[in-house]
Symmetry: C2
Subunit: 463 residues, 2 copies
């Protein structure tokens, strides 16, 4: 069997792995990229990009439905074939294409394809045909959809985000398993495009927010539009003519048996590290069976192994993968010296309607005794009134002593934009008073943000 | 004739005047509001709010036109009657209504209606039936559309922003006189709603931007959609059957004679101070015949007179009027002591498509030798590609020595939102390097802003 000895092995050629590669390549020729499965980032292939193209279509369909309020009496037909053609074409040309072209520019001597598995702390087996001995290892092998045991026998026939964008037309009906970001984005989009859709939760939690009032508002708002069954579990899934028959037992004991043409499994993602025989790596593993690591260095324990991107199972976001790949690379290059990278405040966005955005510290990460909260409903916003889009609310969390903005949960039209203004403020440690010195134009969606911040300032002064 | 002696006279009960009133009322009972014309702010009556409701409708019509790209084959009918009903109803109930209810809460002893004119520096005549002697005067009487002499004889029949939202249906055709914010917003909206529309410029300038490349990009982009004649002047305007016949002489000598059902005059606004016999006020007047004033105190010269809002003819924006009304009030209360208020960096937004936003210092206000410029085109943005909305570009201007962001001109989808993030950065004197420490989510419109800032940072490092 061939053995290659390199200074650096990078497992995974996605956003994190390519980021790490670009940094390390400047230092040395002695490195190897090991890729399992299709090239192209999760984001471009099956994540952010195709889902946002789907949502651009469903948003338009939804807007036409609401048009008569504005004096625009419209109607439409969804051309599912053209919709998926556009998604697949633009994905290939504009998004994945760029990644593949970059991968092509990398000399073949730096690339090998296959499933890597640990043999010992420095040695990797690749598909039983290559052995790689590496001084330092960067784990950037991404994640895959989690499929519960009840669905495993049908895995070849069910959909995940890996397959749903490969359709050539919309189905008549679809069950969505999950109430997280992928479930809500795709489930709502399919519903708006005329697919009879049911979303099935598990614990009753929905979406991203951690404050109970935000959770409640999201559930109520989404249930007004969508068929959502929040609590329970699937007990049976079988193939039937034209689709699948699912049996779901609600927490209060009701059995629901329904058939759907398609079933989308969107109940979270699991790190691909789980297929790498980590137990042979010598790394200290956490409860999930994943390596413990320091988010400022991405180093696993004190070892020569570094982790980044979705493989951590912590922050499955493109911009975090991008940052982490670079931090991991810089730490690996500095190793055994200790080099910390710079992390940014969190920002997470669900492109549902209303949108959901979490910025900085979410409510559950804060001590309620140490903060004051400002809150505003979107229906207080002049621009929201203009759009007749009154759904949602937002909260900002402020340190009681310093007045510094710590975080926000935003549910409503414009959440993605307010999130960016708020994250700049958090990054620079601004107080609510300082933030409120900025002018807010009238009429803009941002006036609701001003309202929430003003309430926080008022409460700060009273406290 | 009745004479009233008060400590404060406030001329105008709009955004600025009401702001001033609310501050001064806390200090004294001795004040009088003098209102000429309809109550309700310019913003709510004839400005921001009705125009944005119109644009919400025209944006939807335009989106439907572009739907087949996404697989949404739509069509629509514009119901002009319902469109204007909605504008007039929501304006009354949601926007003007709030202002009027607030005005109603003000005791009648503080209000008088009529046209105020200076008799001397402390004395005002109101409609020849009341004389007001005031220790301090706050001028907050707003502005009105400017009408060129050629149109004056037809004034009763032509439209301005004061009358255009009173229509009960869309006209077949409309000439728009002007290429500024009102002309572009309303002209583009009417065009998109099926009105045969021509926009006539004067000097060739269009929109808000001051950098020549931005001017050029706006003109090219808007001309691709709209019938725009940029340079020349009207020489004749007469009533004909079913409308008006206009004669326009282009700068290169071509005479254009066309008829339109309606004509919208949108060639700027003039301060209502011009009707107040300012020459008797003893104030020092500038070239325009308006009082010189200090923007940090809103004081006119060293006098007991303060100015605010659109009456200055400088910044006809709701949020500036709001701030200025308060600054003027605080200065007046402090007078004769000198009290400066806090001004914010500029932010101006045109709700055209693509949107236009100017933030902080515009290009023309800066010394080209002292700045580096970062630039990005919207078609570089992943989210812009998703929306198939590739028009526009943006520039950021950065101090060459300090790296501090000074201003930006933004033309494209999402300009209004990027403007808020940028203005927060400018307000707090952040450098481009500091701004770029913020995370930018993927895929968002804000990635183009990151691109422009990154180019500026790169150029800074090279310079």
């Amino acid at each position: 069997m061939e053995t290659r000895e390199v200074e650096y092995a990078i497992i995974g050629v996605g956003t994190a792995g390519l980021g790490a590669f670009s940094r390390i390549r400047k230092q040395t020729d002695s490195l190897l990229l090991i890729q399992h499965g299709p090239y192209g980032t999760t984001c471009a292939r099956v994540g952010c990009m195709p889902s946002k193209m789907l949502i651009a279509a469903s948003d338009l369909a939804h807007a036409i439905e609401g048009g008569s309020f504005f004096g625009i009496d419209g109607n439409y037909q969804v051309n599912g074939k053209r919709l998926f053609e556009r998604i697949q074409k633009d994905r290939a040309e504009k998004f994945v294409g760029g990644v593949l072209r970059y991968v092509d520019t990398i000399d073949n001597k730096f690339k090998v394809e296959g499933q890597a598995r640990f043999l010992d702390s420095h040695t990797l087996d690749v598909d039983g045909r290559l052995r790689v001995k590496a001084e330092k290892i960067i784990l950037a092998c991404g994640s895959s959809p989690y499929v519960a045991p009840v669905f495993e026998p049908l895995l070849q026939d069910l959909d995940t985000s890996d397959t749903i964008f490969e359709l050539d037309d919309l189905p008549r009906s679809m069950a969505v398993v999950g109430l997280g970001v992928i479930a809500l984005e795709i489930g709502q989009a399919f519903h708006r495009l005329g697919v009879q859709t049911t979303l099935y939760g598990h614990t009753g939690r929905i979406g991203a927010f951690t404050h109970p009032d935000m959770q409640k508002d999201v559930m109520q708002t989404m249930q007004q539009e969508l068929d959502i069954i929040p609590r329970g579990e699937f007990t049976r899934a079988v193939k039937v003519k034209d689709g699948f028959e699912l049996t779901y037992l609600t927490t209060d004991g009701k059995e629901i048996i329904r058939s759907y043409e398609r079933v989308l499994i969107a109940s979270g993602r699991r790190s691909n590290l789980r297929t790498m025989d980590l137990e042979k790596s010598g790394l200290i593993l956490d409860d999930r069976g994943l390596p413990q690591y320091d988010p400022l260095t991405m180093q696993c324990g004190n070892s020569h192994v570094f982790i980044s991107g979705d493989a951590t199972e912590d922050l499955p976001l493109w911009h975090e993968a991008y940052i982490e790949g670079r931090i991991a690379a810089d730490s690996a290059v500095a190793f055994p010296a200790h080099k910390e990278g710079k992390r940014t405040p969190g920002i997470g966005i669900y492109f549902t309607d209303p949108q959901m955005a979490c910025v900085g510290s979410v409510y559950s990460a804060l001590d309620p005794e140490q903060i004051v909260m400002g809150q505003a409903r979107m229906d207080s916003g002049p621009r929201h009134k203009i759009y007749n889009d009154l759904k949602g609310m937002m909260q900002v969390y402020v340190d009681k002593n310093s007045g510094i903005l710590l975080g926000a949960e935003v549910f409503g039209r414009g959440a993605e934009h307010m999130a960016h203004t708020l994250v700049l403020a958090i990054e620079h440690g601004l107080t609510v008073g300082e933030i409120l010195q900025m002018p807010v134009y009238h009429p803009t969606l941002e006036e609701v943000m001003k309202g929430a911040l003003t309430m926080a300032l008022f409460r700060l002064r009273k406290s």
